[in-house]
């Protein structure tokens, strides 16, 4: 079976306040980093792959020379058929006609643009470099070029209001992009934002407001032809991200670069997040676990339930026994779950409380 490939390109102009990922603002490291990345690909590469995701960080910030040699090395080490999904994450300020043409020349056929919001009052305090005009321009260039285009949006940003969010959403729909990721803001440990919020310097929109905006967004996107297929992801038919589906379907993938995770057989493992260690050749996993029956069972449930297609009724019965039946019937009765043919999936309000409800089944 072909696997998925994730390549982590960590360089960013600014470390955004909400971002918990392994990123680096020291662009001077990029050549040495890509040397290490290529060494890792050489060491671990082999076999066939049918999805590639260049994520970050800000992959669009990586130099063309480096992108070229990394992608070339992937092709040398893996059998990657023509036309398989190859996504690249880009920030609006990097998206130009020329850049798009270059990325396409590498085989990139899907662009995921980090818009987050169309309001500068919301963007600036986060550390985002772009503004509304730049974001609109980037998305226009991408969609007009014909490349599959996705927009990342965040719900629950400081200063965001019901009106400003509605406007961002409408603007995003109007771009005609085939895919939108709408993430409810998570306050992550270790980020600048969590310190600001805990210190009382920044406040977040009311939780009840965020919850109702989320359910309204699901409805609005559906009307625009963007069907929800995962808690935070919406797509026109056929526009779903093949690579991300892999994670939720428990299909295998290899991750290269700092903080990258891999899933092979019954084993999950991850690379160091420390860019200096990585450059010095630290390729041994800093985290590894072998999944037992319990872990597989719980993963199957929670990853399945992240998706709008949910989990097959029989699978929940098989995995959870009578407790599972009671759980499903209760959820269906109380409106947290809905039936999708022989499957059971979360409703919009169910998605909002999915941690709580899934952990009742675990």
């Amino acid at each position: 079976m072909p696997i998925g490939l994730y390549i982590h390109l960590p360089f960013c102009r600014v470390h955004c306040t909400y971002c918990p990922f392994a990123v680096s603002t020291d662009i001077a490291l990029q050549d040495r980093y890509c040397d290490a990345l290529i060494a890792e690909i050489d060491a671990r590469g082999g076999g066939a792959a049918d999805s590639v995701f260049l994520g970050g960080g800000t992959p669009s910030r990586t130099s063309r020379e480096n992108l070229t040699r990394v992608v070339a090395r992937l092709h040398e080490k893996f059998a990657i058929a023509d036309g398989v999904e190859l996504s690249l994450e880009a920030n609006p300020e990097d998206v130009t006609e020329d850049a798009i043409a270059f990325w396409r020349s590498l085989g990139v056929n899907r662009l995921s643009i980090g818009v987050q919001s169309f309001h500068e009052a919301e963007l600036r305090p986060l550390g985002r470099v772009h503004g509304r005009a730049q974001a609109l321009e980037a998305v226009r260039l991408a969609t007009e070029s014909g490349i599959r285009t996705s927009l990342d949006l965040i719900l629950g940003l400081p200063r965001q209001t019901a009106a400003s969010f509605a406007e961002t959403m409408e603007t995003a729909i109007a771009t005609g992009a085939g895919h939108i990721s709408l993430y409810i803001l998570d306050l992550e440990e270790g980020t600048a934002l969590i310190r600001q919020v805990e210190g009382g310097r920044v406040s977040l929109p009311d939780e009840d407001l965020v919850a109702s905006l989320y359910t309204e967004a699901i409805e609005r996107f559906a009307k625009a032809g963007l069907a929800q297929y995962e808690i935070s992801n919406f797509a026109k038919p056929g526009e779903e991200c093949r690579h991300n589906l892999r994670y939720w379907r428990r299909e295998e993938y290899l991750g290269f670069g700092i903080g990258a995770h891999s899933f092979v057989g019954d084993r999950r493992f991850a690379n160091t997040r420390d860019i200096h260690h990585y450059i010095e050749g630290a390729h041994d996993p800093v985290f590894a676990e072998v999944l037992g029956d319990g872990e597989v069972r719980r993963e199957t449930i929670f990853l399945g339930l992240r998706q709008a297609t949910g989990v097959h009724y029989d699978d929940i019965v098989r995995l959870c026994g009578n407790g599972g039946i009671e759980w499903m019937e209760r959820g269906l009765g109380d409106g947290w779950l809905r039936r999708v043919g022989a499957r059971v999936a979360f409703t919009p309000s169910g998605f909002l409380l999915s941690n709580e409800y899934i952990s009742q089944l675990f």
Binding site: D208, I231, G259, R330, L352, L353, N355, F362
Partner: protein, 598 residues
């Protein structure tokens, strides 16, 4: 067999922390029972829990050899007594096995409530009392003031009280000598039929029930057939001995001697503390003071995990083997599933049992609010006893309810008198006495419903007196009260195990506090949760836990599935500590909050 002339049987009595255990250890060391190097702190308290809490739970007796200054060898039996009001019957039986008591009073603290209670028990048992003023080497010691208190408050002649420091060894030789000279030798009829006082018993997994006895008349021998007078049950003595403190086997015990025997007794209920043991074919009069011990405090104990019911049943069964004063019967609760309604001597006893169940049997338990046993006169003339609020009949069928009352004796420095009186009054107390026992020390005596005392009265008393007030109490009888049953409802369903019986005038305030407190501990759920307190159909207090609106991992890409899975697993773990009632998950803390509320 030693001549009774040369035997001295005594207990050490003291308020908690006044130095009873240290002095016991010192006597063991001085008489050579324990070598200095094998001496570990607090030799007599052998259960971990006892050591941790610094309280002696089970009495033990140690046999010591002492050569007095007159050159004569004496046998001392040091009988240890429990140091808590919950166990006052056991204390009284241990004292009944003695001719004397060494009264230890802390020179820096003076006479406290348990000093008084224990002294009165000793006086009631006609014991010779040797006063020891301990910790005289501390800078804040005021031995003369304490001597005065012993004379004025307890009414003992303390002119020859020993000034001692058990810790540093001061006065210990003098105490040993005075035990010989001040405490009477045991007297008894060596030729009469056997009469031995059973003053402690416990279960030993190798020997069965061990009986600790003091021979009053006659002799008990290995192989002899003996009878328990209260039950007429007959057993054969298979093994006998004394504790030195190691077990030393003997063949017989005569008048005045103290030791243990075992006899294939399977059930500790057959070895009732205070019972008289005699020859199988004799029927002498029973030794005075025997009572059946009755639990005074009751609570439901439920496993948090309902699958643990069988384990809990085994565990309470095993504990009961070792503790005749603990009682249990199955209880089922709609809210909490299957468990047991347990009876305890008091709150400390309850805490000890709960801790042992959790620790020794690895159980996670939920305990309902403690209550007492009520006597109800029904309109049809029937009289019933209930210790479970759920069993309270409909008010229409009740003509009167009576509850147990106690007399509480509180000793305090006078600066705290005001708040203590306010507390006692708030707990429906009736003042019986308020007396200055020395320049700034006050003795306060109140009668109060026991139910008001078991709800953290002691903690409250300690906190308002900065730890200076001490408390002791005794049961005085049943009295009629205006009581009602209050229910706690969660989303309209009564949480049966949380029902309680309260005084009518206090129901509103208590119901309000209760639901407020529970609200603090019930996390937001997927829907709003209504918490109500009700008397019958009347809602007297209400609080709402708002519904949770979002709890979702928005981002789940980049391949880090493990972390997300672990977050959910952790969330699940958190739920294990919660009890599911209908759809609502209630953490144990919420139940405890109800228990702790004042």
């Amino acid at each position: 067999m030693p001549d009774p002339k040369f035997i001295r049987n005594f207990s050490i009595i003291a308020h908690i922390d006044h130095g009873k255990t240290t002095l016991s250890d010192r006597l063991l060391q001085k008489t050579g029972a324990v070598e200095g190097r094998e001496m570990h702190e607090q030799m007599l308290d052998d259960m971990d829990l006892e050591r941790e809490r610094g309280i002696t739970i089970k009495a033990r007796a140690v046999n010591l050899n002492y050569r007095a200054k007159d050159g004569q060898d004496y046998v001392f039996n040091l009988i240890d007594t429990p140091g808590h009001v919950d166990f006052s019957y056991e204390v009284s039986r241990s004292l009944a096995a003695c001719e004397g008591a060494v009264l230890v009073v802390d020179a820096t603290q003076g006479v406290e409530a348990q000093t008084l209670a224990n002294s009165y028990l000793a006086i009631a048992n006609n014991l010779d009392i040797l006063s020891v003023i301990n910790k005289v080497d501390l800078p804040s010691a005021e031995p003369e003031k304490v001597r005065e208190q012993i004379e004025n408050v307890i009414g003992l002649d303390a002119h020859d009280a020993v000034l001692a420091s058990a810790k540093s060894g001061i006065g210990v030789d003098e105490i040993l000598e005075k035990i010989v000279t001040k405490i009477s030798a045991p007297k008894g009829d060596a030729n009469g039929p056997l009469r031995a006082l059973l003053f402690d018993s416990w279960y030993d997994s190798y020997r069965g029930v061990m009986c600790l006895v003091r021979v009053v008349d006659g002799e008990i021998r290995k192989g002899m057939r003996i009878k328990f007078l209260s039950t007429d049950r007959i057993y054969e003595v298979t093994e006998m001995g004394v504790f030195t403190p190691k077990i030393k086997l003997v063949d017989s015990l005569g008048v005045g001697e103290v030791g243990f025997f075992s006899g294939n007794i399977k059930d500790i209920v057959q070895a009732k503390i205070g019972d008289t043991i005699t020859n199988a074919n004799a029927s002498p009069p029973m030794l005075p003071g025997f009572e059946e011990v009755k639990p005074m405090v009751f609570a439901g104990i439920f496993p948090i995990n309902t699958d643990d019911y069988e384990n809990l049943r085994d565990a309470v069964g095993k504990l009961k083997l070792n503790d005749a004063s603990f009682s249990y019967e199955p209880e089922s609760s709609l809210a909490l599933g299957f468990g047991f309604r347990c009876g305890f001597l008091g709150l400390l006893h309850m805490e000890i049992i709960q801790e042992r169940l959790e620790r020794e049997f690895n159980l996670e338990l939920l305990t309902s609010a403690p209550g007492v046993r009520y006597r109800i006169q029904k309109t049809d003339g029937d009289e019933i006893w209930i210790e479970n609020p759920q069993k309270m009949p409909d008010p229409a069928y009740i003509s009167s309810i009576e509850e147990p009352w106690i007399e509480a004796t509180i000793l305090t420095t006078d600066e705290f008198v005001g708040p203590i009186l306010a507390l006692a009054t708030d707990r429906r107390g009736v003042q019986k006495k308020l007396e200055y026992v020395s320049a700034n020390r006050v003795m306060i005596v109140y009668e109060m419903p026991l139910n008001e005392v078991i709800l953290d009265f002691f903690d409250k008393l300690k906190s308002i007196s900065r730890g200076y007030a001490s408390l002791d109490y005794q049961f005085v009888g049943y009295r009629e009260s205006d009581l009602v049953k209050m229910d706690i409802l969660i989303n309209g369903d009564p949480l049966d195990a949380l029902s309680l019986i309260v005084h009518k005038e206090k129901a509103y305030a208590r119901g309000k506090l209760l639901v407020e407190k529970m609200k603090e501990f019930i996390p937001r759920q997927m829907f709003a949760v209504a918490l109500q307190a009700a008397i019958g159909n009347r809602i007297i207090a209400r609080e709402t836990v708002k519904a949770m609106r979002k709890d979702v991992l928005a981002k789940c890409y980049g391949g880090d599935i493990s972390r997300k899975r672990k977050l959910l697993e952790k969330q699940k773990e958190g739920k294990k500590r919660m009890k599911r009632v209908g759809k609502v998950e209630i953490p144990q803390e919420a139940f405890l909050a109800v228990l702790k509320i004042d």
